[in-house]
Symmetry: C2
Subunit: 395 residues, 2 copies
Amino acid sequence: MQIQQVTTDSDRVQVWWADGERRRGDTAASGRASQFHFLWLRDNCPTARHPVVGEKVLDPVTIPLEIAPASVEVANGNLRIVWANDGHESVYEAAWLYDNAYELETRQARRYQSTLWTTQMLANFLPEVSFDSVTADDEGLLTALRLLRQYGFVIVRGVPTEPGMVVKLAEQISYVRETNFGVIFDVVSMPDPNSLAYTAVKLNAHTDLVSREAQPGLQFLHCLVFEAVGGESILVDGFAAAEELKRLHPEDYELLTNTAVRFRYQDKKTDINAKFPIIRLDADGNYFEIRYSTALLAPLDIDHHLVKPFYRAYQNFSHLLRDPRFEFKFRLRPGDCEVFDNRRVLHGRDSFNPQSGPRHLQGCYIDTDDFLSRLRVLERGGRDFRESLSVVRSA
Amino acid sequence: MQIQQVTTDSDRVQVWWADGERRRGDTAASGRASQFHFLWLRDNCPTARHPVVGEKVLDPVTIPLEIAPASVEVANGNLRIVWANDGHESVYEAAWLYDNAYELETRQARRYQSTLWTTQMLANFLPEVSFDSVTADDEGLLTALRLLRQYGFVIVRGVPTEPGMVVKLAEQISYVRETNFGVIFDVVSMPDPNSLAYTAVKLNAHTDLVSREAQPGLQFLHCLVFEAVGGESILVDGFAAAEELKRLHPEDYELLTNTAVRFRYQDKKTDINAKFPIIRLDADGNYFEIRYSTALLAPLDIDHHLVKPFYRAYQNFSHLLRDPRFEFKFRLRPGDCEVFDNRRVLHGRDSFNPQSGPRHLQGCYIDTDDFLSRLRVLERGGRDFRESLSVVRSA
């Protein structure tokens, strides 16, 4: 990234990138400049950060709202500003500015684009890796994590069928997130269940722990024993189904993204509830998560006139989640561990006959933050994290 | 709760409560009836739930959107409906209907009202309990949890000054939430810190782990040793400060509730970010959380025209958070543990001189879901959780 020249406008510095180094997301018609507000620049001066920790130490209340530069220039390829109010000098690396430009198109182009899938696509390519490759080195692990980010799931083959191995696998990525179901949960048919998961009934595709404010991110389900008849696993790309809902029934999509509904889980020791939309978008309008479990929907506490539209949308989305185009069915074998983004890829299972033989899975969770953090750190390689903060110079 | 009579309208049953048993939230002018949509009623029929687990087993796609009753009556004090499409009988207890009525005023009246505080109020009443009372029995623990819910913090006195006791205290409530800082974190001045918390600098009031999608709920800070000069603790009721911002600068309040900004944390092993508003409201417009840390605000990725309004609002809110009316300062003594709702009550500390003596706190976190769950289960007492689902009859 090279800066060709810099100019100023009323409240901003415009950085003109050298030919051939257009902003990410640029179309031919758009400009070659990125704009940086004076306030933004002063607050993000490299000297505003602790040189070791990298956290900000500049107190934001000390920045005059009308701050402006006395001088702006390109110096040694970097942007150099001297501020009019106190003569402070700020020097910004070109690469850092490029990476942090905040025009809408630039932000959109920076966003990771996952691959939405249908069962037809999975017939040609199934995201799977071996336990040996994941545990061998960083490269093998990185391959698995990238598949997870791209498809929302990966199947790990050849995991030793010993109890507790699911945590060993998860800890390749991060520490495990404990929940009210414990650190590890055993998915078996039980005499005194506290969840439908611990019966032998069919479970329609759902996300786990919908009644918690933060649904778990990654879910691991490791097959230890499977001799029962039935019990095939189901995975559904909830974002793909949501896209189809938007196409077929845009008003239903609008309703499910904008109407928060409550989910509630109770047992002898627990009483948890949360109210969020079934299709939740983030602050920039991108998919954030699906929150869907017909088992745990609480009595609706929404306005009366929304009740019927909600059930219509809920039924239409439910039909799509069970549509053979989206519902991927397969049989786990002992030693398989399905790992999936619980907030994107819904999971379920067919009913099984517990008299026909045992079926035993072990599961655990990891937060999305910790999954993505591990992925970013692996991608960072050996570089000093303070480079991306501009506190130390990039190599 | 007694039902006087029931009537039907085009899409609903109206339940008229007996005199003197008005809906919660009723004013003299409003009616005495609660309305329940036919779809709502059918989906919440007690037979729609698993009798042991309590989860729903009725498949929502099987409910006709035009469902209507063949008959509606009061039978043995309960609402009894026979459905026209399939003759299914649904019986709803009056108390359960009353508890789940979903008119807006009813929902609002059901919501817990916490007590927003100023330093002046704390001069008259400080929420504090003894370690002995919290560990003695359920009643003592319930008292502490209710203070926490009401004020957003409680100070526990007389916690043995042994390392690890902070987890023993937290486990009175629930399992601990591990984070990238571990299960327990030691707040001491360190030679090679990975957070400003582990230096001796002043920390303005902030919430912890703003860069994570789910900020921790309860935070525990247990004072083991404190001989250093300086280092007084700070607590600020963020919801009280937000209310004051709304009163003084309504446009700033609007901006901070509607504009998501990114926070980012990095160290050698970690790279986590999240984008949410600084003042976040829930689906019903009530305070959900404050997310505020000047140390971890990432370069803004918002529209250019919002940059200056953001800094103005950010500065105004920052000034309020440091206003002596809201900033409660006190000195922890060895054996004290401050426990606070990290998403409501901001915490900080004055700088201290590490040469003047040691200062050692130990901390840990618990999720809000698990804190509130414990509180609800304690308040439930010995009652069967399936009563509130209407799956078993209330006593």
